[in-house]
């Protein structure tokens, strides 16, 4: 490891330009850049990068094929474990996963695995995605509830194994958080559509506009002949702070703000019918990825000033480092150690300001992070006309209508085995945010993948005892 070339940067749109458009920020490697970056891989005899990946992508293998300029083999290696690589290459927090485990990273910068993954996946999309070989039909039927990262992954794997899979999605477009939450400039919707089409090409059937729990209960699905059910409905319920003024016009949940912008394309109003308020002075409460997405969407919609308000410091901010950096570059302001106490309104019911209080860090709380402690007498007001609450989400209980036997925690998440995805109820598996609470796309995909393997094992041998009480 005497001489190692520096990590290849990926070109990005200029911050001053991109802050006013919804086009993708990161532009992807050129062939030369991809090859140069692939050359940096040490091809370790005992690769550790794979252990850092929740779906154990065959990282050294796909990079070797890329280096050999055998692109179809690179695609094959990449997609062996991952049905959605163009998505993962864009939204995975590689710095805390595969790249954190990269041996090169001990002394130098790790191989840019995520950027290479994106390059290979995008290359395949450019060529036209090939339909893979699918096992002969098994005659078994599986219902997958929710077409988000967990459900799509589970459905793709089960379909590949020859099972008949039907995916039920409540919204009018598949993708879950990939389509309603993550903005176009971070994950183009054409990419999501291509990856979903790939899962469909494996044989999975997609039924949109189908709210399970309302249209049919889980029991009714079993009565319709399904052998197994995977619940992957995510964590879609927005949280609010319960402070005065939170229902004023101009206060959005991040979910509503992002859904209007991304799923409904309100940024193209009136070409698209769904309207959205254009805030000029916007406060975003929270510092996770969803808060960054909200702040950057508000900027692109036409805000003059966007302030992120977070009660802890930058060190505790849950957003990916890259997203914080992108937001800072675009001119988003950050107010750390600050928390809202109330939202102020006009007599007509519109937001006119926000009352904030400074915080200091105290003893660690249940989450292990230092607890923010309000500083008495430090309250002050900022003039804003829009407030976006990006405080996290909880699972939507709707799917559990008439399914009381499914055990859940006090946080509303489903109790499921982490390895197998098995819930406490026979023939029901679950994974993703509905089990863990709001987490990452890739961890949900990992859960979908593990559940698919367990469902497949069950379907091949249903006589065995699978549930013991």
């Amino acid at each position: 490891m005497a001489k190692v070339a520096p990590r290849n940067e990926m070109p990005r749109q200029d911050p001053h330009v991109r802050g006013r458009n919804f086009d993708e920020v990161a532009l992807g490697y050129s062939a030369e850049q991809a090859l140069a970056e692939a050359q940096r891989c040490l091809q370790c005899k005992n690769p550790t990068c794979r252990d850092g990946c929740p779906v154990n992508v065959r990282i050294p293998e796909f990079i070797l094929a890329l280096r050999d300029n055998d692109m179809w083999r690179a695609v094959e290696m990449l997609k062996d474990k991952n049905n959605l690589p163009a998505i993962c290459g864009r939204v995975c927090p590689q710095e805390t996963q595969c790249e954190e485990k990269c041996v090169l990273g001990k002394k130098f910068e790790p191989v840019a695995i995520g950027r290479l993954e994106r390059y290979v996946a995008d290359w395949e999309i450019g060529q036209g995605v090939r339909k893979p070989t699918v096992a002969p039909p098994t005659g078994k039927k599986v219902a997958v509830i929710g077409a988000g990262p967990a459900g799509l992954t589970c459905a793709g794997d089960l379909a590949k194994l020859g099972h008949q899979v039907v995916i039920y999605e409540s919204l009018h477009a598949p993708g879950g958080v990939l389509i309603y939450g993550i903005p176009e400039f971070r994950l183009p919707k054409a990419i999501v559509r291509t990856e979903v089409q790939y899962v469909q090409s494996l044989g999975a059937e997609l039924r949109l506009n189908s709210v399970i729990g309302k249209l049919a209960t889980v029991d009714e699905l079993f009565a319709q002949g399904y052998d197994a059910i995977f619940l992957g409905t995510g964590a879609g319920l927005p949280m609010f702070m319960n402070i005065p003024g939170e229902n004023l016009n101009g206060v959005y949940s991040a979910n509503e703000f992002l859904t209007r912008t991304n799923l409904m394309k309100a940024y193209k109003f009136p070409e698209y019918d769904t309207p959205i308020m254009i805030g000029k002075q916007v406060a975003v409460i929270g510092a996770g990825n969803v808060a960054m997405d909200s702040a950057r969407c508000a900027l692109r919609l036409g805000a003059d000033r966007v302030q992120v308000v977070y009660r802890r410091t930058k060190a505790e901010a849950p957003a990916r480092a890259e997203e914080l950096e992108n937001a800072e570059e675009e001119g988003i302001e950050f107010h750390y150690l600050t928390n809202p106490v109330s939202i102020l309104g006009t007599d007509k019911g519109w937001v006119s300001g926000i009352r904030l209080q400074k915080q200091q860090l105290g003893e660690p709380d249940a989450s292990g992070r230092p607890r923010p402690v309000p500083i008495p007498g430090s309250e002050y007001e900022e003039q804003v006309d829009m407030v976006i609450m990006a405080l996290g989400t909880r699972p939507n209980p709707m799917v559990f209508t008439d399914t009381p036997s499914l055990e859940r925690t006090k946080h509303g998440t489903v109790v499921a085995n982490e390895e197998s995805g098995r819930t406490k109820r026979e023939r029901i598996w679950s994974g993703g945010d509905i089990v863990t609470g709001a987490a990452t796309v890739i961890s949900a995909m990992g859960a979908g993948k593990r559940a698919a393997a367990d469902i497949d094992a069950y379907l091949k041998n249903p006589q065995q005892t699978w549930w013991v009480e």
Binding site: S170, L171, H172, Y180, L208, N209, S210, V211, K214, L215, A216, G236, L237, P238, F240, N242, E246, N247, N249, Y252, S253, N255, E256, T259, R260, M264, K265, F269, P270, E271, Y272, D273, T274, P275, M277, K348, G349, N396, P397, M398
Partner: protein
């Protein structure tokens, strides 16, 4: 896609569609709603279920042309299809044998009150019904309402048909009479429901209203539809759409209905400029 199987013009701006959606029809109950979307550019609009037929697989919706989307819907014909037709959403009406019930439908609210009146009637309640509208041309379903009520009072604001009165007048008379109802449903425009709830409050009779808030997903994801009931924030889509009218923060509801007035006005004007006979060309799509 969800095909329109029948269309009826109930009033110049009030239209009825039957839509083929057998899975929704199989589960629909009085009080629930659907979310419709016309096309790929369309917004998601909640509409209360006005009727359902489990055998034919049809859902009946009734809407008033007020903005761009409803005006565009008004141009749809039998055989046309909705891109989305999601439901049945929200909690169904709590149908029990209460004794005497008063049901009140104002304007386009006559449509959602009908299946509730019918279900209450079938459950053995004595149903007193009041339907009202601004004028005769906006009134519909008098016969249908009569068929599911023991007593029907019809009124118009301007007296162009039947009794000249706001619905709150006969409501107060009935509440003051000997056969005071045990429970009341009042559905119509927000302002009518507000005054209906104010009218019944002194009599202490529980008054249920059905809210048609602005929504996006309709499944509890976004919170666009939030209201305050008894000082607590509720989502109309999953906690409602029916709430106790005496507990409602009406001002908040009315304020929140105005969020997109400017954008709606702009979209409607653009649509009307381009909607020569329903052609969407020239809209830049």
């Amino acid at each position: 896609m969800y095909r329109i199987t029948a269309r009826e013009d109930l009033a110049p701006v009030t239209k009825l569609f039957k839509v083929y959606a057998p899975e929704v029809a199989r589960k629909a109950k009085a009080g629930q709603f659907v979310i419709v979307r016309i096309d790929e550019e369309g917004e998601r609009v909640p509409l209360t279920i006005a009727d359902y037929d489990r055998d034919s697989g049809e859902i009946t919706i009734v809407f008033q042309e007020v903005g761009k989307t409803t005006k565009q819907m008004g141009l749809m014909k039998v055989g046309d299809e909705f891109a989305s037709f999601v439901g049945p959403l929200g909690l169904p009406t709590d149908i029990e044998k209460y004794g005497t019930v008063l049901v009140v439908g104002g304007g386009v609210g006559i449509a959602p009150i009908y299946p509730i009146a019918r279900a209450l009637h079938e459950a053995g309640n004595k149903v007193i019904a009041i339907i009202g509208a601004r004028n005769q041309s906006l009134l519909f379903w008098e016969d249908k309402m009569r068929s599911v009520s023991d007593e029907l009072i019809v009124c118009t604001d301007d007296g162009s048909y039947a009794r000249k009165a706001l619905v709150t007048e006969p409501m107060k008379e009935i509440l003051s009479s000997d056969h005071k109802p045990d429970i009341i449903w009042a559905i119509g425009p927000a302002i009518m429901m507000k005054f209906a709830a104010l009218a019944t409050q002194p009599f202490g009779v529980k008054t249920i209203v059905s809210l048609n808030s602005i929504m996006v997903d309709g499944t509890g994801m976004c919170g666009a539809c939030r209201v305050e009931v008894g000082g607590k924030t509720k989502f109309v889509c999953v906690d409602g759409p029916e709430f106790d009218g005496h507990q409602m923060d009406w001002q908040l509801l009315l304020d929140r209905q105005r969020i997109y007035l400017d954008q709606e006005k702009r979209a409607t004007e653009l649509f009307e400029q381009h909607a020569h006979g329903g052609c969407r060309c020239g809209e830049g799509k």
